[in-house]
């Protein structure tokens, strides 16, 4: 594409600045003060000037840089590895990432744990939204089921961390099935709002059922142990302190390091499982159902079971993420499971590229690490975050990594 004339760019920039001036005029220029207002006319002028400059610079860039990147052709399938290659590669990758534990400060370790939790959530929701094409806005509900399952399971039944992981997956999966059942007949956005409703119902019940869940005060979740070793200065669950067994000096970072390592392994396994699922009959059924439900049903595919299994699979991954969240926080309360979290996870899945497993990982890391990096910008943090979301979406409407759909090559072509 050729460059646009500079004079036209100038004109467009001026127009953009004018609109900005009108739009920010009252909101930035007149600041409410009780029932009265004070003026601050410099602010809208500054914003408009900034828009003028940015728009002008953007106009000077070659148009192809800014145009949405969309590829429509189907890409060839990624090369298949042999099992031993995968195991070996995975192990090397795991060790490389695990060694981060040795260098990261406790703060970055905690941020890393949150990022991995969101990767897990993203992978879970990706099964539902990306593979099966069911728009789920209440995913945070399953996350809450997992987190509360662990915390309450410990409180009432004395469940430990390792028992909680499979049980939470099972429990959340069951919730996924139960909640999935009534929505089978619904499509698209009706499904979205009903799942949103379910997510809210779970949160509200957790918040209101004082006697069982501790209401808004939340519940304490125990720190995980490893074969009876506890990662605390003083044992609280009748084990032995890890640092004493190994003759190390106690450090509060040990617990985080342990959670990080376990979580990393779980993310790796989930990643493997999810990528394998796509190639298996059930994964193909999900994707087929997403593309054309009627065709699938007429071919005898059991759409009820297919949809429910997608819900259950996604939910159990969300539940496992919840256990890790509770374990790393040491405390769960309903505020952590608001609708905004669902929106964030959905953003991860869409920004990453619907259905793309690796895209989800990239987007999860990006969306969780960015607000932390932006902490330097203090109050502007969320504003910049919002702009980034819109801009990335416009720049890459199909996500950071575009979806690859498995297909079969016709012989001879």
């Amino acid at each position: 594409m050729s460059r646009r004339p500079v004079s036209r760019t100038m004109l467009l920039s001026l127009f953009a600045a004018l609109i900005t001036l009108i739009l920010t005029g009252p909101l930035s220029g007149l600041v409410l003060n009780g029932y009265d207002f004070t003026t601050r006319f410099a602010a809208p002028l500054q914003i408009a000037a900034m828009v003028l400059i940015l728009r002008f610079i953007a106009g000077l860039l070659p148009a192809s840089w800014l145009a949405p990147k969309q590829k429509h052709e189907v890409e060839p399938r990624a090369p298949r590895f042999k099992t031993y290659q995968l195991v070996l590669g995975g192990l090397v990758l795991y060790l490389a990432l695990a060694s981060l534990v040795l260098f990261a400060s406790k703060y970055w370790l905690a941020v890393g744990i949150m990022a991995l939790i969101y990767v897990l959530l993203g992978l879970g929701l990706n099964v539902v939204v990306g593979f099966a094409g069911l728009l789920d806005l209440g995913f945070v509900g399953f996350y809450a089921v997992g987190a509360y399952g662990y915390a309450l399971g410990h409180q009432y039944l004395g469940l430990g961390f390792w028992a909680a992981i499979p049980l939470a997956a099972l429990l959340a999966g069951m919730f996924g099935m139960i909640l999935g059942f009534p929505v089978l007949r619904m499509h698209g956005d009706y499904l979205a709002i009903v799942t949103l409703g379910f997510g809210e119902i779970i949160r509200l019940v957790l918040n209101n059922w004082m006697a069982f869940t501790g209401g808004p005060n939340g519940v304490d979740a125990p720190a995980p142990t490893f074969f009876g070793w506890e990662f605390k200065a003083n044992v609280t669950q009748g084990g032995v302190p890890f640092h004493e067994v190994w003759g190390l000096e106690y450090s509060s970072g040990m617990l985080d390091a342990f959670i990080f390592l376990v979580l990393l392994a779980v993310v790796g396994l989930t990643l493997y499982a999810v990528s394998r699922l796509r190639g298996m009959p059930i994964g193909r059924a999900w994707e087929a159902l997403r593309e054309d439900e009627i065709a699938c049903r007429s071919l005898g595919l059991n759409h009820v079971w297919t949809k429910l299994s997608a819900f259950a699979m996604g939910a159990s991954i969300g539940g496992v993420a919840g256990v890790f969240f509770a374990a790393s926080q040491g405390f769960v309360s309903p505020i952590s499971f608001s609708f905004f979290e669902s929106a964030l996870v959905l953003a991860i899945v869409v920004l990453g590229g619907l259905g793309s497993v690796y895209g989800v990982i990239l987007a999860a890391l990006f969306l969780t690490l960015m607000p932390e990096v932006l902490r330097e910008f203090a109050d502007y943090r969320i504003l910049i975050f919002g702009f980034a979301m819109v801009l990335i979406m416009i720049w890459r409407p199909r996500g950071i990594i575009q979806q690859r759909r498995p297909f079969f090559k016709r012989a001879g072509s």
């Binding site: 602010a43 009627i294 959905l346």
Partner: protein, 305 residues
């Protein structure tokens, strides 16, 4: 059950429901035309609440004190401004995504609502804001201390909500503009071939949707007197629920859904438990959608090959 208490709760529900309905109509307009959930709609409503307060303050500065004139002028100011905002948002955040995946504009909309929320917080401060009470007066039924009532402002809300819905419905069903909208909705490519500037039509619909949010913003703000930068989110989710309940895409449906939701919340909170009123509201939504998967007045999607 006390008749007056029941009456009051029904009035409460109608008023709350009308506020949901007013915002839900905006959701439904946009959804109807491009099939997209405009998550930023709640924030546009929030912006108009701020504009109401700013408008009133500026008008008071110029010495205007007639309440109806104040409301009228503020309304015009808010409508013009928010429509422009709506059109701008559409142009910048949604139009580039017209041909993308259905979920891309949804995420973009979440981004826009974060931007609006934080922009308003940064420019106007995080604190709660308020507007003075302009319209006083109340209509009461019953004896001195045993009555139910509706304030004049509440009456205005109910009437305007129904009127706005009716006018829009007329526009969509019986005017050239409405035909262009419906054509764009049914088949955008075909509409374009027939000479309809679909981009313009969509922008216009966003403008109208935002204008409705402005009407809602002015009236609701005047009724409750206080707001902050977070109101858009709370009300937005409820209004969206109302739109879906009534059958998203249907204007009378949005109003019906709003009123039903308002009544359900009000009666449940009033006679059972306000702790669980939202649980009840969402459970009702699920219940209704199980039996009518396209909402109360939505067109059932016919499955055909």
């Amino acid at each position: 059950m006390d008749f007056y208490v029941l009456g009051q709760q029904i009035v409460n529900g109608l008023v709350l429901g009308s506020t949901y309905g007013l915002i839900a109509v905006g959701y439904t307009m946009v959804y109807g035309i491009i099939g997209m959930i405009n998550f930023a709609h709640g924030e546009v409503y929030m912006v108009s609440a701020y504009l109401t307060a700013i408008g009133l303050a500026v008008l008071a500065y110029f010495g205007i004190s007639n309440p109806w004139l104040l409301i009228g002028l503020t309304m015009v100011f808010a409508i013009v401004f928010t429509s422009l905002l709506g059109v701008t948002i559409e142009r910048l955040a949604y139009r580039p995504l017209r041909r993308a995946n259905r979920l891309a504009p949804l995420i973009s909309a979440i981004g826009v609502s974060l931007i609006l929320q934080n922009y308003v917080q940064l420019s106007q401060g995080a604190k709660n804001q308020g507007v003075p009470t302009l319209v006083e007066g109340v209509f009461r039924m019953g004896s001195e201390d045993h009555f139910f009532q509706i304030t004049y402002m509440q009456m205005v809300i109910i009437i305007v909500a129904i009127l706005a819905m009716a006018i829009l419905n007329f526009v969509v069903q019986h005017t050239a503009l409405g035909r262009a909208c419906r054509a764009t909705q049914q088949d955008r490519q075909m509409a374009q071939i027939l000479g309809i500037d679909t981009d313009k039509v969509i922008a216009l619909v966003f403008g109208i949707g935002a204008a409705l949010a402005a009407v809602a913003g002015v009236l609701i703000t005047l009724n409750y007197g206080s707001f902050d930068f977070f109101v858009g989110f709370v009300t937005g989710v409820k209004a969206f629920t109302a739109a879906v309940l009534g059958g998203i895409g249907s204007l009378p449906g949005a109003m019906l859904g709003g009123i039903l939701l308002g009544l359900a919340e009000s009666l449940f909170a009033g006679f059972v438990s306000s702790d669980y009123k939202d649980v009840f509201a969402f459970a009702l939504l699920v219940g209704i959608l199980i039996f009518r998967p396209s909402g109360l007045l939505g067109k059932p999607t016919v499955e055909k090959v």
